[in-house]
Every structure is written in structure tokens, then in C-alpha cells.
């Protein structure tokens, strides 16, 4: 799993059935120091996370399909948690 920060939303009317009625979040991927590593993911929100929050991102197809409860479904990145605190090497990062 990856740690990300919600930086935006993506609005899409014409999409695969698995995305209908779901919120798509634009998330920067963070490195272990809590800074954006330059990459991003469009993720399906399953926890109701909001703007600017650090989140836990699952980027794997089988688990993503399990989370949304639909198969087959062309889905990979899913937000599965909101990060309250992140400590690396004894230092509080987030």
C-alpha cells in the first residue's frame, strides 16, 4: 500500500460501471518523509476522505475489486484509509 495526499477530484460521467456513483480522488503519492514523490494516482474513495488529507492507497487489482465488491472490474487504485499519524525512524512525519 502507498501513502498519498488528496489534492483534487475527477468528475466523469461516461465511465466503466464500477465507477458509477463513486468519488474519484486525485492523490499525490508521498514518500517516507511525507513529501510528494512526483507521481500521482486517480483513486476510488471508499472511506469518505477529503481535501488535503493523508490517505492509505491500495494499488492492486484483486484487492481493489474485493473492496468495491465487483468482479470483473477495471479498477486498481482505491483509498482504503485516512492516515492519522505516520512515524518513520522514531520521527513523526505526518
Amino acid at each position: 500500500m502507498k501513502i498519498g495526499r488528496v489534492v483534487g477530484t475527477v468528475v466523469s460521467t461516461i465511465c466503466s460501471p464500477v465507477f458509477e456513483g463513486r468519488r474519484l480522488l486525485l492523490c499525490d503519492v508521498l514518500d517516507s518523509s511525507g513529501k510528494p514523490d512526483g507521481s500521482y494516482l486517480i483513486c476510488v474513495d471508499t472511506v469518505g476522505s477529503g481535501a488535503g488529507e493523508a490517505v492509505l492507497i491500495l494499488d492492486e487489482g484483486n484487492s481493489a475489486r474485493q473492496v468495491v465488491g465487483m468482479s470483473p472490474a477495471p479498477i486498481r487504485a482505491v483509498v482504503v484509509g485516512v492516515v492519522d499519524q505516520l512515524t518513520v525512524d522514531g520521527e513523526l512525519v505526518l
Binding site: V7, L26, D28, P74
Partner: protein
């Protein structure tokens, strides 16, 4: 999933079994500010409605084939939605600016 811009179409009359009738499009992957990033790739159209010039989002790897009617096909990128709008959140931008 990543943002991409459809830049062209591709026609192939000889294809692997299962890919008959699948529309293939050339897409340019974009970064989150919608600037081109990396090389263009060929993606299958999983929504059957995408066309050149449109902003879409694509799914990569094994999940791509799941966007198609026949899910056991050799495809590594698929368009799974057409983007109406990308809204950058202001509070997120502020959080990012923090040292």
C-alpha cells in the same frame, strides 16, 4: 489510474484472439497538471465513446482487460472513463505548500 489525452486512433486487422471489435486509441499519459509525461501508449477503449482530443483516465496492467467484454485478452492499458472536469482542491494546495 492516470490521466491521459487521446491523440489518435489505431487500426489493426490482424490481432490476437479476443481483440476483434476492440477499439484501439493512442493516448498520451499526463501528469496531474495535465502536462504530457512519458511516451504515448496504445490503449483499448473500455467505454466505447472516447475519441481524439478527449481527456480520459486509463488503467494499466492486468486490470486493463477487465474493462472489455471479454476479460481474458492481451491488453495492458484501457480507457475506463472520460473526464468532465479535474478539480484541484484549494486546501490541498495549501497543505502541499507547507514546508
Amino acid at each position: 489510474m492516470q490521466l491521459a489525452r487521446v491523440t489518435g486512433t489505431l487500426v489493426a486487422s490482424v490481432k490476437a484472439d479476443g481483440l476483434e471489435g476492440v477499439k484501439l486509441l493512442i493516448v498520451q499519459p499526463l501528469d496531474r497538471h495535465q502536462r504530457p509525461e512519458g511516451s504515448p501508449v496504445v490503449a483499448a477503449d473500455g467505454v466505447h465513446m472516447a475519441g481524439p482530443g478527449e481527456l480520459v483516465y486509463v488503467v494499466g496492467a492486468r486490470e486493463a482487460s477487465q474493462a472489455l467484454p471479454n476479460t481474458f485478452v492481451p491488453v495492458d492499458h484501457a480507457i475506463v472513463g472520460i473526464v468532465d472536469a479535474v478539480e484541484e482542491l484549494r486546501s490541498a494546495a495549501r497543505a502541499e505548500d507547507r514546508p
